[in-house]
Symmetry: C3
Subunit: 269 residues, 3 copies
């Protein structure tokens, strides 16, 4: 495990600035509900999104991207082939990838697919809600795309998953819980409006991929993405109390959230 | 036919509050143009969207959802299989579903698919514009996704369709016309800007599914969805005169439209 | 080659007004990331979008539309079949079509598809960034969806492509370069924020199709779309300095950009 930096607000702030300076290409194989919002969130944060799940193209993009996101939100038989191609290609090229196992648990077919992808080549980060993380270690639960459990309940599952595959697990919730099996970070930023807009969790997976492209420390990358998004959410909620305007403001604040805001606002534990 | 409530502004207001209180899971098999807007509209209104049209997953979601939406806007051969799976699964589990036969009429392939789905298991509500409703009873007309007829012209077709399949038909237009074959409701709310944003009609189908999850009276559910959306449209237009800002404001106002606004603003006839 | 009008600000202003007055149906086979934004942009500008890439439906829509857009952004094996069907159908019905070869160059599979479509029936306009236009004449380059070249570098390729297929090539960049092989136009409007929102280039392709439906002069149509979009971008940037609000404002300003704004603001060279 590469642990180049301790996970402090200063380290997070540096990742955020590197994301903007390096503008890495992030190849997203994601669901059609959030594709536009995800691309705009990456652009607002300073990264460069590319999206396709056709195997011929996905394989090429994955090899050239800074990192890859695989999100199972609306996975089909066709797009699953693209995911396998991208994961294989990313692994061969030494590119990190992020697995977001949306609605794993209640849906057996995609839960099995998540397991297949994990076995194909371990991702650098698994990002999900508590029910999804529990599902990857054999638990059940969840309702549609929502969690029926709290991040702290998923702590043993997260540690086990991190240990088995040598990866980082990021469990989102009111307080986000992140662990690489050795170190654990909690992020206490965020706002309830983030659950009133579709795809905010999916955006977190994409930003995590973006941060992985600029640091080798996966726990730091996942933490940086979480801090960036949740601080943007707080700033957006402060000026947009209803969900339509909040979604627009969230994109604005992904741009506006800089190293200074992170150093003063990050609530890491 | 279950007729538990008369269709009054008070009854509509109660459905709206139940939607927010119960936050039903609405499984949407919808078109990729409007998937994000639809999910955000359901969330803004207080419901919980889930979207996939892969048969293995769709079948599970449909059985567990409060209601199911099938919208033919960008239906493919692959997604049609998911629609058949969901409709069958919903029928078996006793869950209501809504058919939105987008662009039925000018497009023979999907018009035939709409007929197949109707025959597979009748939906609780068919929601469309006048051309689409006419097409389901053998009429032609329509241009792309637009109607070339007025809701009142579709009145005989709507009554016939309602009688044949024992369902509610909701025909949208400047004045919306809704009937379950016995009772008829007209909703005179709304604003022309609602036709300047893609997917507002599709959102109406999704909200109808949401309301069906909280009342057994399909005509009341369809009316409640129509009133909620058209009142939100009026409030949004009052503060956002151009279509970009209007779309954002519409989401805000789906949240802000509550029982009080409905009781004072609903124009039911 | 039909050259009915010289490409002046007055001629552009007339196309813009005709677009609003005639509200042509524009059939878009486009990528799922930008489908919603594209449909809303067409509606805001005054056109009427229709979107599907299922061959049975696409074939019918293409024959009845004012013009067709084919954008390769997330093309799949299935949607490529719809593209072939639409291009064939449009050509048979005498409808113009626009090719937007997104990420042609680095991605061999779709670069070959772009060549196949060009050979099937030449589009009226090819719209892309410099790397994409270079790729269509055998060049390489580009990173993901971004150009690694400047429009002026693509000038020989654009001229060659225009001559080979008797079409107009529109190369976007800080200064857009457009040529039909005989005439050349440069458009110096626009704003850097247009590169911070996903799909602005894709919208340009859709607006070009819209303008092609109301004028037979393809160079004029491509210029009118470029001027309309870039002036809207300038107006949006003047009131929305961050990318979330900018995207919303851009839709507003596509509506607000009228003949007067074009006559005073267009920077044609």
């Amino acid at each position: 495990m590469v642990t180049t930096t301790s996970v402090t607000a200063d380290a997070v702030a540096e990742v955020r600035e590197n994301l903007r300076d390096q503008a890495p290409l992030v190849h997203c194989l994601t669901n059609l509900v959030v594709a536009n919002f995800t691309a705009n969130a990456l652009l607002a944060a300073g990264a460069s999104p590319a999206m396709t799940d056709t195997p011929e193209d996905a394989r090429v993009l994955a090899a050239g991207a800074g990192a890859v996101l695989v999100n199972l939100g609306t996975v089909t038989h066709a797009s699953a082939e693209g995911m396998r191609a991208s994961v294989t290609s990313a692994a061969r090229a030494g590119r990190p990838w992020v697995l977001d196992p949306v609605a794993a648990g209640p849906l057996p077919w995609r839960t099995a697919l998540a397991g297949d992808l994990l076995a194909l080549a371990p991702p650098a980060v698994v990002r999900g809600n508590a029910s999804e993380v529990l599902a990857l270690t054999g638990g059940t639960g969840g309702r549609g795309v929502e969690s029926t459990a709290d991040p702290e309940q998923a702590w043993p599952a997260a540690r086990s998953l991190a240990g088995t595959y040598a990866l980082t697990v990021a469990v989102s919730g009111p307080v986000d819980l992140l662990t690489d099996g050795e170190r654990t970070v909690r992020v206490a930023n965020g706002h309830p409006l983030m659950t009133r807009v579709t795809g905010v969790g999916c955006v977190l997976g994409a930003l995590t991929a973006g941060c992985l492209a600029v640091t080798e420390d996966a726990l730091l990358a996942a933490t940086a993405a979480t801090v960036l998004l949740t601080l943007a959410g707080e700033a957006a909620a402060a000026r947009a109390p209803l969900p339509g305007a909040f979604a627009t403001a969230l994109l604005d604040e992904l741009d506006a959230t800089d190293a200074d805001r992170i150093r003063t606002g990050a609530r890491l534990g």
